[in-house]
């Protein structure tokens, strides 16, 4: 299956919600999902975005100084 999504792994749900707000304001489609088990053993949530929005999202979060645990294509 071709990779169509990216996920943003975060330290905690609070970070996910902060990212959610930033993406919402920028009009970037997103969805909070449980962290895929193969990426991390953390049992929390992460932010799923469309792969086509990955670069823009990375830039947005960098300028907003939001720390993440990384972007992964799934």
């Amino acid at each position: 299956m071709s990779k169509i999504y990216s996920v943003i792994l975060v330290y905690s749900t609070s970070y996910a919600l902060k990212i959610e707000k930033i993406l919402q304001e920028a009009g970037i489609g997103h969805y909070l999902i449980p962290v895929p088990r193969h990426l991390s053993s953390d049992c929390g949530v992460c932010v799923r975005i469309s792969q086509s929005d990955r670069k823009r999202s990375e830039a947005l979060l960098q300028s907003a100084q939001v720390e993440t645990e990384g972007f992964y294509d799934i």
């Binding site: 905690s12 609070s14 919600l17 929390g44």
Partner: protein
Amino acid sequence: MHIDEQLIYLDNAATSWPKPISVGAAMLRFLTEMGANPGRSGHRMALEAARIVYETRESVARLFNAPDPLGVIFGANVTEALNLAIHGYLRPGDHVITTSMEHNSMMRPLRAMERNGLELTVVKCSAEGYLPPEDVAAAIRPNTVILAVNHASNVVGTITPVADIGEIARQYGLLLLLDTAQSAGAFPIDMQADRIDLLAFTGHKSLYGSMGTGGLIVGPRVDLERFTPLKQGGTGSRSELEDHPGFLPDLGESGTPNGVGIAGLKAGIQWILQQGLDTIRSHETTLTQQLLDGLLGIPGVTVYGSLYADFQTPTVSFNIDDQSPSEVGLRLDEEFGILCRVGLHCAPAAHKTLGTFPAGTVRFSLGAMNTREDVRAAISAVRQLSQKNNMLHFSRKHFTAKDQP
């Protein structure tokens, strides 16, 4: 007990009452419509609950101009927040400067740490409760770490010159820990402009939330490596690790939060922003001046503090002649339906500074919901009590022992 409309509530410095209707509604809504565990599970109801908690962090950050909502650590009250800052950040051998107007929520954790090797300087405030900033600067030592001060006295409402203290902190590279129990929501606070590094707040006073809410806002100059949380436990994050996470806000938040209370706090802050903090402040200042002027006009009544509403929160302390504050408080309650707080107000240091230790004072503390009529009734009640007191003295002089029953 049935609370009817006859009661006049003047105990807002202890907790505000009544709360805006929207606060209770928000709490009920959280409990009944989204009562899942915020930040734990990832299902929609848990996320909705977590959003409420996060949005409350945003509201708190906006109100105090905090740099980052993630720096807002929620807790049970301002006492817990001050304990987190003091026990979590300070080490034996550190030096802390505090003031002689502190509440025990600041003083007791500092005194406890002092017994374990913390160096503590208590800067003496004036008899009106003013903190002289130059005395704070003069007390700085090479090992001074934190300036720990209240923003407003819970006894007489006197405001601390935060901007001046923040400037001293900036000059000497110290952290400023501010106790905003009496000022948050009642007085403008700008964490960045006033260079506040650790801001302790409570949700149930002039933020109009419920009891069991409050927190500590941690600014970017605070060294998180040095910060040891008072409690370790589940945070919903980094669950694979058996060590507690070191990032904000999870560092200071273990266990399921008071989601219902936090939802109410959000509604309380929204209510303040809707009314306008300036509008509330101006309303309370007008009532405070009316109260001060009224009390000062009664013979035999001594009023403490600045005596100028502009320089204080709406909290006024007084005594009637030599009547004991507890007696006055009881009669205000029973004879006039006026509810207030008497005694030492958990602030023995402040009362020593004001010269009212150990008997204490009668304290009227106003809030946004009070009216000019409330204040008029309170002044009239104090006048009557003071007159009764005079008559009692008069009559006693004319009775001999055999006349006593």
